[in-house]
């Protein structure tokens, strides 16, 4: 299309790889979600709250997995929000083969599905197991570790909204320090969640040396799809941990679910990285470094960290704890914003 005879190739897109799609990009460079023919593993009519990050992430991840596997996919789901809001008799919003067994056994059930496919000559069909943070980091950790240790051919996806949301916002081991939940209320001299040592399931997964581990959020679809696709290139155990804001549990406006996820990564509090066989191989740099407070302020579950009354010293120290965690992540995962100022991931240019 070069009118003046210049041979320079077009390098830049108005929105590049940040938006879901773009009419100026080749269809292959748009996301799976941009296509009107996308598989919609999860379709309309489900009972998720308005602005539910998990509903969105599930469709994002599974549609990407479906494309990577040519639609040959079986999903196993743990008990939790995703399972409950998608399959209340008589309505199911799934359009793929889907199995829900119990709260803590999704990884084991998925291992069984994978074994069955192998022994019946249907290895072209791949398996995804999915659960919330409750079903993954707490009650499901035993089965998850077993699956990892056996290196069963399953991609496990954890949708982390940082509490047991389906049962009414109770604290899980994924709940951040200081957050208000129904079992860690913002009351008394030490309001909000305790400041424990934390539990990073991605790092636990890495400790098993499984082929692929990654973190992602609903704010960066290109990144999420690339990671799901990459995961499906491997056989053996793979783990993806996706941060999914929950308007109800986090006390945020439904409309800002994606903005929150974006702030979580831009502050460093939720680092985006990939690991293969126990070693971090890639991390996604922060584009515009943001203070953790900007992220927390949009969520009522952290309101007590900013209020004038109450134990102000304790509250402020909670803010420091979170900011320190973010800074540590930036250092550990080399999210290094200063060194990487250009956020353009350039389409077809190479």
């Amino acid at each position: 299309m070069s009118i003046d005879g210049s041979s320079q190739r077009i390098k830049f897109y108005q929105t590049g790889t940040w938006t879901i799609g773009n009419r100026l990009l080749d269809p292959e460079q748009r996301t799976v979600q941009a296509s009107a023919d996308r598989s919609n593993a999860l379709t309309c009519g489900h009972r998720a709250c308005q602005g539910c990050g998990e509903a969105l992430a599930a469709r994002y991840a599974l549609d990407a997995a479906l494309r990577a596997t040519d639609g040959r996919l079986i999903a196993v789901n743990a008990t939790g929000c995703l399972e409950v809001f998608t399959t209340p008799y008589p309505e199911s919003s799934w359009q793929i083969p889907w199995l829900h067994s119990l709260f803590g056994n999704a990884a084991a059930v998925a291992s069984g599905v994978a074994a069955a496919l192998r022994t019946s000559g249907r290895e072209d069909i791949r398996v995804v197991a999915q659960g919330g943070d409750g079903g993954t980091t707490d009650i499901g950790l035993g089965c998850l570790s077993g699956m990892f240790e056996r290196n069963d051919d399953v991609l496990y996806i954890c949708y982390d909204n940082e509490a047991y949301m389906n049962t009414g916002v109770q604290r899980s081991s994924a709940t951040p320090p200081g957050a208000r939940t129904a079992t860690t209320p913002a009351a008394g001299p030490r309001p909000g969640n305790d400041r424990g040592t934390g539990k990073s399931v991605p790092r636990i997964a890495m400790a098993h040396d499984i082929p692929y581990v990654a973190t992602a959020t609903v704010a960066d679809l290109h990144d999420l799809e690339a990671k799901v696709t990459r995961a499906m290139e491997f056989h053996g155990s793979r783990y993806i941990h996706i941060l999914v804001p929950c308007p109800l549990g986090w006390g945020s406006e439904p409309a800002v679910t994606i903005r929150l996820a974006r702030l979580a990564t831009e502050s460093g509090l939720f680092p985006l990285f990939e690991a293969e066989h126990g070693q971090v191989v890639r991390s996604t740099p922060i584009r515009h470094l943001t203070p953790v407070a900007d992220y927390l302020k949009l969520q009522k579950r952290f309101a007590h960290l900013f209020k004038a009354n109450g134990n102000q010293e304790y509250a402020q120290s909670g803010l420091h704890v979170l900011q320190a965690e973010a800074s540590r992540n930036i250092s550990i995962y080399n999210l290094n914003p200063a060194a990487s100022a250009d956020g353009d991931r350039g389409g077809i240019d190479s």
Binding site: M1, I3, D4, S6, Q8, I10, K11, F12, Y13, Q14, T15, G16, W18, T19, I20, G21, N22, R23, L24, R30, T31, Q33, A34, A36, N40, L42, T43, C44, G45, H46, R47, A48, Q50, G51, C52, G53, A55, L56, R59, Y89, P90, E91, S92, S93, W94, Q95, I96, L221, P247, P254, A255, V256, T257, I258, R259, R262, A341, D342, G343, D344
Partner: protein, 550 residues
């Protein structure tokens, strides 16, 4: 073995559950007014033609410009781009270089020989346009598109008005201007030069014109009295520029032969004309000094032009007025700003060398043409009063451009021409011109700029210093195609969906329907829960959340 009752379900049975009933507000796709469009005095739909350009549809983009403005190659050079001042991108990094892209498209059109076709068949009506400056030519063009027969009568020897006689070649090469004028005549517009109109009413009657648009500009220089030994040493800026224009030779950017103004010239004034005069004098080999009574930030000239002048070696004495002129020197008085910001004399005098004084103190309208018509109202400075339909007090006689109350820029003039043409068209048809209602402004706060790539504004090539001082070659160069495309793609498309698929992608309820390329999107209100994520994540603010009537 059969499937279990109730605990096993068929796929997509949830489509029975129409969650749209949950909503308290609904998303609505809207078109909002981009600030560039809003700011353009010619009413160009900048966003729309940038949309075309970024697709590589340069012809389509150019045609879109031509809907409003017949002189894109000129405008891309001479317009002061208020669109860019208002451009929302400036709040991200830098404004989109809209003028540079318009110029690229205009130049491309000239190279490719593009033209437009008329919107309507011949109406049989005849309209007279007096003056072939930007306003007159714009009016003529729009009237012609609407199917009317148009004659432009130009008093001077060649068409163009201030474009030819006010803007120097190094800002607007004459080949470009000529090409765009030729395009107009190719459409069937008749342009008569050396055809001064003295009596509008009479001329209309003689020619059987059904209406008239007068746009003779303001080409009379204001003067002040400055004591000087030799009156010939005092020129007005317009006169100088005219001489440069009509002087012999002067092809290919060279200075006209035999034109000397003096070794050192002093220009009095702080507007664009003053700058033009000073820079032109430099190219003629003179040293040039500008004297202006206020400060740089209060000077009417655009700052980039002041900057270019300084780069070319023009000196400027701010806060100074000229008291008198002697042989080879001028006496200037230093000013200071009082508490209200107005300059007042300090009493301090200074002498500066100078052989000639060029006055650039403003321009007045020649009132002779309309002054005799009784129902035409003139202000005391000669400006013609017109109603909101650009019509003077005399029915059928319309006016626009520098001669009516307005900011005096080429783009405003072009805008007047377009508006007047539509009003004349309505007048001829016995109807009222009703401009379409404007959408809500696409304010920056409505955008989600995260989604736009970081991309610094491209820079146009600039002629080297030496050539700037010695020739009238165009100082600022144009963009090549890939750069123009890059620049066009920096546009945020404020308030207008550009099919980025965000809404379609981010809806957790799969409640946006993609209608196909060029057809945008639709909300599936059966399932939309009204969460507002689509509106929040729309980069260009083309979705509004509207409360449901509960």
């Amino acid at each position: 073995m059969t499937r279990e009752f109730a605990s096993t379900l068929e796929p997509a049975t949830s489509l029975l559950n129409e969650t749209g009933s949950w909503r308290t507000e609904r998303p609505v796709f809207v078109d909002r007014l981009p600030p560039c469009n809003h700011a353009c005095p010619a009413g160009e739909n900048c966003q729309a033609w940038l949309y075309r350009a970024e697709e590589g549809d340069y012809h389509g983009a150019w045609e879109q410009i031509m809907v409003d403005n017949p002189l894109p190659a000129v405008m891309g050079r001479a317009c002061y781009h208020p669109c860019e001042t208002e451009c929302n991108r400036a709040q991200v990094d830098e404004a989109v270089g809209i003028h540079a892209i318009e110029r690229f498209l205009g130049d491309l059109a000239i190279r490719q020989g593009w033209n437009i076709s008329l919107d309507r068949t011949e109406s049989g009506r005849r309209v007279l346009v007096v003056g072939s400056g930007p306003s007159g030519l714009s009016a003529a063009y729009h009237l012609r598109r609407l199917g009317h027969s148009v004659t432009v009568m130009e008093a001077g020897p060649v068409a163009g008005g201030m474009m030819r006689f006010g803007i120097p070649k190094y800002r607007l090469p004459r080949e470009v201007l000529d090409a765009e004028v030729r395009r107009l005549t190719a459409l069937g517009i008749e342009i008569q030069t050396d055809a001064k109109v003295n009596d509008v009413v009479e001329t209309m009657g003689e020619g059987g014109y059904d209406a008239c648009f007068v746009a003779i500009g303001a080409h009379l220089a204001k003067r002040v009295d400055i004591p000087a030994p030799d009156a010939g040493k005092i020129l007005d800026a317009l006169g100088l520029l005219r001489q440069i224009e009509t002087g012999s030779g002067g092809r290919n950017g060279e200075a006209p032969e035999g034109l000397h103004v003096g070794r050192r010239i002093v220009v009095y004034g702080g507007g664009n004309t003053a700058i033009d005069a000073a820079r032109s004098a430099r190219r003629l080999g003179s040293e040039a000094v500008i004297v202006y009574r206020r400060t740089r930030d209060r000077a009417p000239a655009h700052d980039f032009e002041i900057q270019e002048a300084l780069e070319e070696g023009v000196q400027i004495h701010w806060l100074s007025t000229i008291k008198s002129m002697d042989e080879g020197q001028l006496t200037i008085e230093k000013m200071r700003l009082n508490t209200e910001g107005w300059p007042e004399p300090t009493g301090e005098l200074e002498t500066i060398p100078g052989d000639a004084l060029i006055l650039a103190l403003g321009q007045d309208v020649d009132t002779s043409i309309l002054g005799r018509i009784p129902d035409v109202t003139l202000r005391k400075d000669g400006i013609v009063e017109v109603d909101r339909n650009m019509m003077t007090g005399h029915p059928g006689i319309f006016a626009g451009g520098d001669m009516v109350p307005a900011e005096r820029t080429i783009t405003v003039a072009v805008g007047h021409g377009k508006k007047a043409a539509h009003c004349i068209d309505a007048y001829l048809n016995g109807t009222q011109h009703r401009p379409s209602p404007k959408h809500e402004l696409a304010d920056f706060s409505l955008l989600n700029t995260w989604y736009y790539n970081d991309a610094d504004r491209t820079v146009q090539p600039v002629l080297g210093e030496i050539r700037r001082r010695t020739t009238f070659e165009e100082v600022v160069g144009g963009l090549d195609e890939s750069t123009a495309l890059f620049e066009a793609r920096r546009c945020l498309s404020c308030g207008n969906c550009f099919e980025c698929d965000n809404c379609f992608g981010v809806c957790p309820d799969n409640a946006i329907i993609k209608l196909g390329p060029g057809r945008r999107f639709e909300v599936n209100y059966d399932f939309c829960k009204g969460c507002g994520m689509c509106a929040e994540e729309c980069p260009c603010g083309a979705i509004e959340m509207v409360p449901e009537a509960i």
